[in-house]
Subunit: 719 residues, 2 copies
């Protein structure tokens, strides 16, 4: 794949999004065929340029002259839309190259998603594309739409065209793309462009993100993803684009079952969903977990401003639905605070005596158009809320029109005095529930149930907070001794089989990175163990040092709280005997003699190397917290200072680190530094495939933290 | 309120659900008024009996003769529907009594929900109802519908009447009731009867549950609740009814914000949501958390059988949506297992070569009617699934009709060979998405997104598993000494202010209930402490004994691992000095001297007395697990053996109790027994207002468990 600068990229994608001439290769007279439907879609979308159907077996389709081949088209072709059998694709690509067609959309399926010969066909396709420089969407996709008024191109095989707007959509599944396009039409969700990326042999979601970053018609980006192509580049682009335009992602395969289903229908690699979550949160993306939420977010973000904070006002004409809405908001961590006396009095002055004024404001079932209008205006202009949800239940069907017009009047009045908080409607009535309200050209999105607007506000508040924060920094740590660190790993791999580093090597490696190990050391005989213990001062702990054996506690090879020399001798000999009896004496590198630490909180830092995402770092309280309760935070390396701080704050057990029940708090600064130095280590030395610092004692503020046990694994092939 | 047997109840509610004559008191000529709308609704529903409008100020309404008063109606009146101003209600109730009207629906608002004079008016109303024996729905409600073909009564003020069916609905919010009725019409959800219970001065949800238990037209019960009236009776009835008919509940106020909103719009008591969850799970209720789920469950349960297990088959015409559905199923803990080779071969024999066969089965976008029919039939008859979800994306709008008919044919064929697994549709197309499919009279419910059917299957599988299990038992424990236990509490309350029991009293109380305290005891001087320690054997723990002071660890009053007499002496004196210095010496009852336990898992059992639900028992791992991580299970006393077992199994940290990392498992039988004995204790002695056994050491199987610290609080007024 050629490297493109962003300017080059915009230029190279122009023929895809703004072609003047399109050839449909494989256009057909048969109505059920994709070749016919592509032609029909383009026609019906009133494409602004010229369309050339290509088909060697006919002379006309629906009154249009066809051409036997690309070469026979008398003018240059900007874009070829190809729907021929898989076996003909390579020769058509060659024809495109010969005709100097700069861009193509390859609808045809039967490539890597089918495995076997399909995969090798895809490899050949990739090579042709690379050599010819043609920019390609697909294969195995359903096309591209650009609804910009100057273009009006529906180069897909669905006749359904959503309204024009500012939402760009990329979908890694054709079917899901269809479902979203269909829903967008129904929900009146305005689209700028839509791309079904298929097997993304050339153009990926990453390219499209960069394109939409510049595209002035796009304000919100929707991604349906089944994998992440080139995660480091994705992270860089998504973070940059996200600061200007919100990116909403629905990622399939959040469970293993889903991943296995995804793997079987595309050529996508299985992804670690924890890593996906980490990546998305690191680059400020809004992750929808369900299709309903995905569309709900798109509706909200495409039409309403982002809330400045989490204070939600609820206006309803009925108690119960108001309560459900308040429940949903509170469950999302939003605030439904009581209005000030001033606002309540203002509301009381025109609402019926039985109205509830605190929040939710219940205007009661028979409130008039005027009462609705004034309540909406009073709430929005109160400066006591960051977002407004209006929950309406149809009390008398024929009143709904009046209520709607009252709501529209109220919003309009507030907008005219500069009150721009987002407004969401929950319209529980008969008839067309998906229709949005329009206030002076502004679309007020409508939802069927009060849960989705609450979720939408939560997500947008989080996004806006991310967007307003400056980007994190990756500290340079000039004090580390990378030469030594790299040598240790290199030597390990030269000297013996890839695998776990010895205790000596581990200690030296961490020392080179200035990651502080607990004091003490390794003793290989009884006498040295006692000597070390005396230097440390009693009480001490004596533990088996072995890079082979893992479950040391279970085998009785960890002895704590030893009070004198004799206890240390007994511990050393006990551990040796245990290993001898188990026939594992050769695995004993000696014993670790360490001081007994107290007054600290035990935590862990881990790293595993994901084949797709690279180093995934983990942080948690250690022990059962990580393994049984799953209270762990993950992030992708390299970590910024913000990432590290967010990992620490993100665990449920965080309160334990801030001083719980009279215990001193932990040195959070030192913990953060440990995470950042580990991130640096694994970035610098890709041979490290796994790392487990567990436990780490986080001492009180100013005292730092100490690694008590560490395991590091190195492998030959830098995965 | 009179006590009604169930037969009496059915008889007394008959005039409400099956009246032959209805008087509308407050019927009005004014079209916007409730009095007019009630009249109109009844008329338009083609009520099978006679309607008598009552209005002293007119002689006819819409061509109907009106009567100046109830007394003027020439025939007996079975049911009075009352919509007069609040100030006239009591005299109308007197008129009903005089006319011997057996039942009434009181629409009028302005009672306890408004506080102040409204509350006292409600008290007077309650008294009149009690004296007259009239059965009353309301006040502050919007009426009752009985859609049974023989009755056809819409005694509400909404003209919207859903289709006839087998779902009964009770709503504690009029507005939510309206929203549900409106949605039922749109979703084609068949209703048997609907009751807006308002302030339930007489008839409560409990009465309605008993009524619907017997009502042959009702198969599924939907409750929208804002409080629970008489929780013990609710529990007994709901558990009994739930074994015959599923009860789906949407409970408002699951957050404090929601509760405060609920409290302000009805006269409902705030409820502890943990207790609500506990109660619902104990009586097998299906709890929906959102309105969307509530309606989704109603659609599924009213038309489809319950799944026998959790194996889900997914049929789709598009990869992405299939993956999302598989994700949703897996996230709900359902199985989406690969089909057998036999089934895959059968599918392969008629599906296109690119179809996916494992599960989800992807017939691909252009599959024909015939292919859909055969795929559905093959999957349902495979005996490899307990439920089928069909996810359809509109690929070519005009093909959807054929696909729909293929699906219907496939289900029909499977049903004819006795395959009755539930089928749910997710129909992602344009047009009317809420319409259900009908297969030989059977309704196949349709959803917009694949998440809801997955949730529905999870909930119904859980319900069916509960229903199939025999009810739990409350063990009698004839070995307890209740007389002593009661005496201890009584004496405490006579001797001094209500509050925490002393350590001596606590030990004695637990001993009387055969709840095993750790060995050791209380010493009030240095010498006795050493003597106790010697009896126990070293090492021991020495802890402050005080029922006043709570945070003993924080104040250094817990000393562990003491190895000899001197250490015990030092500990005793240290604790005394600490208390003296803090000026709290008088709070020292002595010290607890206990053996150091090892090899056990620390857990906790607690109880708080909820003003509404009574004793709420808690179980967790103790320490930060309960307080920071919130890993606790709650149940309402009395506990059955099944409840106790479910509490233990229900915590996230359960794996720690089954033997983690070479540690022995805990004595689960003894833990269960401790929970059951505590349940018995708090049931027998309602003066106990709070109890905290924390920590409890759960020793290995056969060795029981030991309470290490316990606090029990007694109060005078049995709350």
């Amino acid at each position: 794949m050629a490297v493109h600068t962003q300017d080059n990229l915009m230029k190279s994608l122009k023929p895809l999004f703004h072609p003047r001439t399109i050839a449909i290769v494989g256009a057909s007279r048969e109505e059920a065929s994709i070749g016919y439907r592509l032609f029909e879609s383009l026609q019906e979308s009133h494409f602004a340029g010229s369309i050339f159907p290509v088909n060697p077996h006919t002379t006309e389709i629906a009154g249009f002259r066809t051409f036997p081949s690309l070469q026979d088209i008398p003018s240059p072709v900007d874009l070829a839309v190809i729907a021929v059998p898989a076996g003909l694709v390579l020769s058509i690509i060659d024809e495109c190259a010969a005709k100097k067609v700069p861009a193509a959309i390859l609808i045809t399926a039967g490539f890597a998603e089918t495995g076997g010969t399909g995969s090798s066909l895809e490899e050949q396709l990739r090579e042709r594309i690379r050599c010819s420089g043609i920019r390609l969407i697909g294969p195995n996709c359903f096309g591209l739409m650009n609804l910009e008024p100057a273009v009006r191109m529906n180069a897909t095989y669905t006749p359904i065209v959503p309204p024009v707007g500012h939402v760009a959509i990329a979908s890694e599944s054709g079917g899901l793309g269809l479902a979203v396009v269909t829903a967008a039409q129904r929900l009146n969700l305005g689209i700028s462009s839509f791309v079904s990326v298929g097997n993304h042999v050339d153009i990926t979601v990453n390219d499209l993100l960069e394109y939409w970053e510049q595209d002035q018609h796009t304000q919100v980006i929707l991604l349906y993803l089944e994998t992440i192509v080139d995660p480091p580049r994705f992270r860089e682009i998504a973070e940059r684009v996200g600061r200007r335009k919100p990116i909403i992602a629905l990622k399939a395969g959040r469970t293993e079952t889903g991943q296995s289903a995804a793997g079987s229908h595309t050529a996508a690699l299985a992804t670690n969903d924890k890593a996906v979550d980490a990546l998305f949160s690191q680059c400020g993306m809004i992750r929808a977990t369900t299709l309903d939420e995905f569309l709900g977010l798109a509706k909200a973000l495409s039409s309403q401003p982002l809330p400045d904070g989490q204070r939600v006002g609820i206006l309803t004409n009925s108690g119960g639905p108001g309560v459900l809405c308040a429940d949903s908001c509170a469950a999302e961590g939003l605030l439904v605070s009581e209005f000030s006396q001033r606002t309540q009095s203002a509301l009381a002055s025109f609402l019926p005596p039985m109205a509830a004024l605190r929040n939710p404001v219940d205007v009661i079932g028979f409130a008039t158009e005027e009462q609705h209008a004034r309540a909406v205006e009073t709430m929005l202009t109160s400066d006591e809320l960051d977002a407004l949800i209006i929950v309406h239940v149809s009390v008398r069907p024929k009143d709904n029109g009046l209520v709607a017009s009252g709501i529209v009047r109220g919003i309009s009045a507030a907008r005219q005095t500069g009150h721009k908080q987002p407004v969401y409607l929950c319209w529980m009535a008969e008839g067309d529930l998906d229709r949005s309200f329009i206030v002076d050209g502004e679309v007020i999105p409508t939802y069927r149930h009060p849960e989705i607007p609450a979720r939408v506000i939560r997500q947008t508040v989080t996004y806006e907070a991310w967007r307003k924060r400056p980007a994190g920094l990756i500290p340079p740590y000039t004090d580390v001794d990378l030469v030594t660190a790299k040598e240790i790993c290199a030597k390990t791999l030269t000297d013996r089989e890839p695998g776990w580093l010895t205790n000596q090597e581990t200690h030296a490696l961490l020392a080179a990175m200035k990651i502080p190990f607990v004091s003490g050391g390794i003793a290989t005989n009884e006498k040295d163990a006692v000597k070390l213990a005396q230097e440390i001062g009693y009480p001490v702990a004596v533990k088996l040092a072995s890079h082979h054996l893992v479950h040391k506690t279970e085998m009785g090879a960890v002895q704590l709280n030893l009070l004198d020399d004799q206890a240390v001798r007994d511990a050393f000999n006990g551990i040796r005997t245990t290993l001898e009896q188990a026939g594992k004496f050769e695995a004993m590198e000696g014993v670790l003699v360490q001081p007994m630490l107290s007054g600290g909180v035990e935590v862990m830092v881990g790293m595993t190397r994901d084949p797709l995402f690279g180093s995934v770092l983990a942080f948690g309280l250690g022990g059962i917290h990580v393994e049984i309760l799953g209270d762990v935070q993950f992030r992708i390396a390299p970590l910024t200072d913000r990432d590290a701080a967010a990992m620490i704050r993100g665990i449920k057990g965080y309160r334990l680190l801030t001083g719980y029940r009279g215990q001193p708090p932990a040195d959070l600064k030192a913990l953060k530094e440990t995470l950042l130095r580990v991130s640096r280590l694994v970035e610098e030395i890709p041979e490290i495939s796994e790392l487990d610092l567990n436990p780490i004692f986080a001492l009180p503020p100013g005292q730092g933290c100490r690694i008590v046990d560490a395991r590091i694994r190195a492998v030959d092939d830098k995965i």
